[in-house]
């Protein structure tokens, strides 16, 4: 398509994205057409661009799953690791290179099932890693199995008669475990998601951004939620801002996605800073 056909605003926005895509990586991506991962990737790129981070100073770490393929497409120091362990690898990166911005890209299965232990301990340490958790409530790469965020009663290939288990709320879990920044967005609310990601990256301490996203290919099909557009509309209709949510009763909030900043503790001690103080004290001969 000739670029002249595009409205100017769209053209400029695409240019920002292209600047951060790896020139040598083969496209298209592994993601299905309409996958919410693209929206989140775009929000991350725009956030990083607005913050003016140097590409060399960003490490993007991921585990296994559809979401975890994202760093491979992007022109940062990318570490595509083993299933569930991204935060443990990222902890090594950040502790070794405390000046780096370390961003973990993960999914609900990767972060909360196989990686659940690393998730709560990274929160507890309050190590300065930004985790973008794309939550589509299902395993996409392996073909639609139930995950720790699949709601009770929902269908997947491993819950063919409805899910008998309860689901995690990743944000509640992170807050309880000690994360000092927690925010949520959806793929419908892309500008708000971008803003939340910017805040998370700027925050010194462990930050989690949960991005509610559509897997129409599996979750949508198995739960009769329709195509990508129908699912994204669902998120629009069921999202409330933190300001609105504050005025709502628990009953009214049932089944809603509260979006915005859920926790922002600027005073919490960050792990690498604290370790550096301890190193300085030892080297000072104390």
């Amino acid at each position: 398509m000739a670029t002249a056909e595009k409205p100017k605003a769209v053209q400029q926005k695409s240019d920002v994205i292209l600047e951060y895509l790896r020139p040598k990586k083969k496209f298209p991506s592994v993601w299905c057409a309409g996958c919410g991962n693209g929206v989140v990737m775009s929000a991350i790129i725009r956030a990083i661009d607005k913050l003016g981070l140097s590409k060399d100073n960003v490490a993007m770490v991921s585990g296994i799953g559809c979401t975890s393929r994202m760093p491979v497409y992007l022109d940062f120091n990318s570490l595509h690791t083993t299933h569930g362990r991204a935060l443990a690898f990222a902890t090594g990166v950040k502790h070794a290179q405390p000046k780096m911005k370390v961003i973990v890209i993960t999914g609900d299965g990767d972060a909360l099932a196989i990686g659940g232990n690393h998730f709560i301990h990274a929160c507890r340490r309050n190590i300065d890693i930004t985790t973008i958790l794309i939550n589509n409530s299902i395993y996409g790469m392996t073909g639609g199995q139930g995950s720790p965020t699949t709601p009770g009663g929902a269908f997947s290939t491993t819950t063919p008669y409805g899910n008998a288990e309860n689901n995690f709320d990743p944000c509640d879990l992170a807050i309880a475990a000690g994360a000092s920044y927690v925010g949520r967005g959806t793929v419908y609310h892309a500008p708000q998601l971008e803003k939340t990601i910017m805040q998370a990256i700027e925050h010194n301490g462990f930050s989690l951004v949960e991005a509610i996203s559509n897997c129409h290919t599996y979750y949508g099909r198995l739960n009769r939620r329709g195509d990508a557009v129908a699912m994204i509309k669902w998120y629009k209709e069921r999202s409330v801002t933190t300001a609105k949510a504050a005025k709502m009763s628990p009953d009214e909030l049932d089944g809603k996605y509260v979006i915005g900043t859920l926790r922002h503790d600027k005073e919490a001690t960050e792990f690498c800073d604290q370790y550096q103080r301890l190193v300085d004290a030892q080297q000072g001969g104390n």
Partner: protein, 370 residues
Amino acid sequence: MQGNLACVQGAIYAGLQFYAGYPITPSTEVAEGCARELPKLGGRFIQMEDEIASMAAIVGASVSGLKSMTATSGPGYSLMQENIGYAYMTETPCVVVNVQRGGPSTGLPTKISQSDTMQARWGTHGDYTAIAVAPSTVGDTLTETIRAFNLAERFRTPVTVLLDEVIGHQRELISLPQPGEFQVHNRTKPTVKPEEFEPFAAATRGVSPMPAYREGYRYNVTGLTHDSMGFATADTNEITNKLDKLRNKIMDYKSEITLLRTAMMDDADIAFVSYGTVSRAALLAVALAREAGVKVGCVQLYTVWPFPVDELRDYCSRCSKIIVPELNMGQLVHEVRRNLPPDTEIHGLQRYDGEILTPMQLLKKLEEVM
């Protein structure tokens, strides 16, 4: 000094800057030593939530540019295996110390064993070539740990240090090396422009240079089978090239890796072949048997993997009988058997009740086979 602490001293001498670990008997003193010493040197220590995370963290730190190590035992070594495989695939230098204890499962946490001999070679899934070194004294533990770091950095691969509960915990008098006494190898850095850099090519003596983070080379690291640029591939030639490289970068330079020591082998008709604590019993048994006029010698493997086939054949060329004493149900003996000429009589001597093999037990076996 205790063996586990000699390991820490060796690691620091070799340039250790990052340690991640999880407490487990009988390796815990390695973590404790690093927790104490690394901050004084500006290094980094972290106690992770488990051994899976420990292995992950040292790979993350090594890719970032720091020399890294972890130490563990028994169940912890099993938990690390998947991420050790990640280090093989991503060609990330790191050192994994396994202070062996009895298994399977929780097994014998405070007892000696050599039952991870094969796990050090075949522990993670898939095809790869492993390097494992094995000291037999506290002094050796220091120097073999230095060697493990040098090999890891030179070959861009994880290297296992096979200790055991007795070496780890026993105390012996050792002298700490002076700066410059032992060579320390650091990974080579790329000199080409970032856009020309191929992070996983067999560029120089089997491996590519390896930049640290923040040095301008933003390459991709993945556990997926990848091409020389680090991107996942389904191309049959590229897949073959990658797996061949993981083998060839080590096997083509095996002479740089192999280390054996021998005693009384010049005229020996019979040889003990062993490693670690057991080889100390073998040395004493040989000395005693020689007093009685028996032509017996001893080969000590300091490099267990890759198995030193050629050197062992050479040393044992005039031996008609080989005894392989080991603290497991028979692992090393199979490797000796399949690599020595078929007319050599190979006898195993195994103990797996948590106690050491004594020189007397070795002498008794010697009498049996004579």
